[in-house]
Symmetry: C2
Subunit: 610 residues, 2 copies
Amino acid sequence: MNIQDKPNALVPQSVTCGPLPGSKKIYHRPEGRPDIAVPLREIALDPSANEPPVRVYDASGPYTDLEARIDLTQGLARIREPWLNRRQGLETYAGRMVRPEDNGFVGPDRLVPPCPANRSPRKGRDGARVTQYEFARAGIITEEMIFVAARENLGRETMLEEAEARLADGESFGASIPAFVTPEFVRDEIARGRAIIPANINHPELEPMIIGRNFLVKVNANIGNSAVTSSVAEEVEKMVWALRWGADTVMDLSTGRNIHNIRDWIIRNSPAPIGTVPIYQALEKVDGDPVKLTFEIFRDTLIEQAEQGVDYFTIHAGVRLAHVPLTARRTTGIVSRGGSIMARWCLAHHKESFLYERFDEICDIMRAYDVSFSLGDGLRPGSIADANDRAQFAELETLGELTKIAWAKGCQVMIEGPGHVPMHKIKINMEKQLKECDEAPFYTLGPLTTDIAPGYDHITSGIGAAMIGWFGCAMLCYVTPKEHLGLPDRDDVKTGVITYRIAAHAGDLAKGHPAAQIRDDAVSRARFDFRWQDQFNLGLDPDTARLFHDETLPKEAHKTAHFCSMCGPQFCSMKITQDLREEVLAIAEREKGMAEKSAEFLEKGGKLYL
Amino acid sequence: MNIQDKPNALVPQSVTCGPLPGSKKIYHRPEGRPDIAVPLREIALDPSANEPPVRVYDASGPYTDLEARIDLTQGLARIREPWLNRRQGLETYAGRMVRPEDNGFVGPDRLVPPCPANRSPRKGRDGARVTQYEFARAGIITEEMIFVAARENLGRETMLEEAEARLADGESFGASIPAFVTPEFVRDEIARGRAIIPANINHPELEPMIIGRNFLVKVNANIGNSAVTSSVAEEVEKMVWALRWGADTVMDLSTGRNIHNIRDWIIRNSPAPIGTVPIYQALEKVDGDPVKLTFEIFRDTLIEQAEQGVDYFTIHAGVRLAHVPLTARRTTGIVSRGGSIMARWCLAHHKESFLYERFDEICDIMRAYDVSFSLGDGLRPGSIADANDRAQFAELETLGELTKIAWAKGCQVMIEGPGHVPMHKIKINMEKQLKECDEAPFYTLGPLTTDIAPGYDHITSGIGAAMIGWFGCAMLCYVTPKEHLGLPDRDDVKTGVITYRIAAHAGDLAKGHPAAQIRDDAVSRARFDFRWQDQFNLGLDPDTARLFHDETLPKEAHKTAHFCSMCGPQFCSMKITQDLREEVLAIAEREKGMAEKSAEFLEKGGKLYL
């Protein structure tokens, strides 16, 4: 079937491309490895600034590279292919046949065609090294590790003293953030289970990234059609759009028809790790009745998705039969879809969860493709009232148990967390997770710090996300303004991602990450110098900043004006201070040490009254 | 001059009125005081909920009361008039004549007429008790204290046990929040300087509110025209609009023409305390040249505004000559307008600030009208880079010194704070403020926790505001999405206020305020029961919540649907759990203590593996 024959709505035709204003894509090549090209975004500044361009982390993929040729039917360039080709432990095989139930038994007239970029899958041979965890434990540094090490440094290579000062100025609550990230540091963190590189061997298009407490805080964006609405073109665009604004990974939470083929299009065109919740698709295969689920159907779904190249799976193996009654008197019961599905199964059969009982078999599949575990928090609180209760913590303890099993099996693991938690109960979540799960990376949804603001839950949760990112959470799953109310559209995805980039960055700053404050300082200098264009371009969303400025002062001349509309020219404190600055500096120079003397005077009680 | 003769744009014709969806205004009358009517908002729930209506704090004034007759030319009802009439220490006098410079020498064709509701001003007699602080110190409970005590309880009168459990569950960092607020508690907190009731004796229209660490966290919204744009009608509407969405006080930061008369219209129609920064108007009177400022002009402006009824003044008396050189090497210098004006004056004259030197005279004026001090932080950091530096803290120490002088003079005092502060440096601000200023209420702008998101600074600062509110900050000054970029419009004001209501409420929850979680729990129960209308109406912004829901599922029938568009009917975890609930409860009942047994089993190491 030719994809040109299909109606437009079913097939993605194009996506948002091109750099952000003032930015260009550059590639950093680690010393001695010309075959590894690590993307960064460089923001040029006005010549008057007399400052080098600012380099920032860039998760947006080739879509923002003017040189890249984007063809969704071909998929992205397979940059990991040469690396994977060299690995002895991998083999290519025919793979599982796609079955009608994989696409929800959709009729031929509504079938989304598979992405033509598909290839035969690889899997790991028994006993061979496949996962990043296995390589790391064996003392081997992979190309993925070299890639992420360079990526985390944002192109920094010198200025050790400054980096150390930044670290000393932060409060990381016992994290071990280095001044510079080396491949060996990455390897060691992965070997200790403190970080993961979600990188399925069937996702060669991936630009590797790392999730761990001692690295930059990451952000996940959820996309996915639902039984109620949305199309494949929309979903691929949502993925590209989420990455454009700074998502580091994307979860495809699609349900309903065509999900196998939609996933194809997403993965073949995604430079970022893709996560899924396989139980959703397994449920579709049994007509939506949780009671009919079997391990065999679940297992088949894992293999189906692993062959496609999904990088991490949320698996709710911590929802045990004995946990279910702990939720009986909750205000909001079980709010995780996966959790409620498994609870229903356990109760209906009055049996222990098959995810828990056959966890070792699940591990074997995950290992064979290097799909990372995201151990799901099926009993996370759905309201402030249920935060930190026995059900939540009992599950977390089980997740700790499962973490060790997964590691023993050679798998990479992260742990999902709440949910809805008031501010004073957030830290205990982080501490308990670190303890129970031996510092495996924590990946939380929010948490929302209050329940009273439907329509604004990106903000209620952005507060909690910033705090838990500071405390040590490695990745923050975004929440959009539509949470609890509807499906996020394009604007909601952007708002959610930017809110969470703020939270992640606020966390990095507070931890004292040595690269974090460079961008803040560049914005502040631009602000103080009235370099408006630089201020816009250095921000997370240059388009909105420019638009807001132009609403009050639209003229181009105002972009160089030494005042803004807030105060007008007479009242501009920055202008007054700038006018003062020469004078103040001169005084400080002339009356050698006057600043110090002033301080001394004041400290010695230079008070007029009292 | 008849106001009907003026062009429409200059005079406010009407403002947004009517209750929020599902809500009605009620008045609580404290026992034995039928003359005191404390407004509350009551949100009705669907009969199926079988729950009483939820009462929430209501700062919106008579505008949301269907019974109230609103006539902007007449001003609001003067509810404090009988209370003030009974106070022996007050006298009515002719007051200062309005001068052309008060309205920025505006020509007659562009002059906004004064509000016809104006009356002759009152002032306190020498030696008599005038301020809430003086009454409190004398052991006298005023009507204002009775009013705020009832207001803070949100109509709660019983359920002591629950209130105490809430308190015990929170973390208040040494605050002394009571289970119920009594007038005597209010009096005591004011007498100790730990709380203020900003209530100028010339603002009889005021519905009193209290600002202090042991009360609900409050929110201020800034409005004000600027030299560049906006009109009086817009400003009055912005004030009403900000209160509608939950602002507790409003600062009028107008500059330029007509500011005296605009202020008239605002105060006569404001049920909330109005704050100003008098140095702005003083500067207008000397053609915008800080060097020409004199104490006499400043003093005249204080009296002018005190007679109009401004409830609190920001006064930057902590910017001393010796502090200015401390800012010389900052990234963003001085970013407070008031601070930069005073710094310029000090340097130009090479003299100590007249605000500092003649602070006792300022106190005498403040006391005579019971205008509260908001001691301005003229040296607050304007960037993460400048946070918690010597300049900032030197000023804070001076503010502590001035606090004690103001108290000795009988004045009410709060202290302004930063600004831009990364998360790990927020707590030290709160701790230092409590120490230096003997627990006088703290009133902070944000703080912004990162500088990289122009266009989203309501969020960067909402994070910091929630945290400092939790740590003990009494009032949070909002930041809108337009911060650093332009003048906020109506939508920005609403977004800013709601973001800050979230921050304030998140702070109340974390402190364990006994009334806070009632609303969260009501939302959560509505959510779990699929009472969509109740969920919308109980939220901070029912209109937006409903709109977001309707974007995906517009039909009226979907408002009673037992699922939402996020997951669709099959995947709804809440629905699955609800279906399970009976079963789970039955099991828990039948197998007496099964929940406990499960927990025990798990705790004793009921593990399958390991």
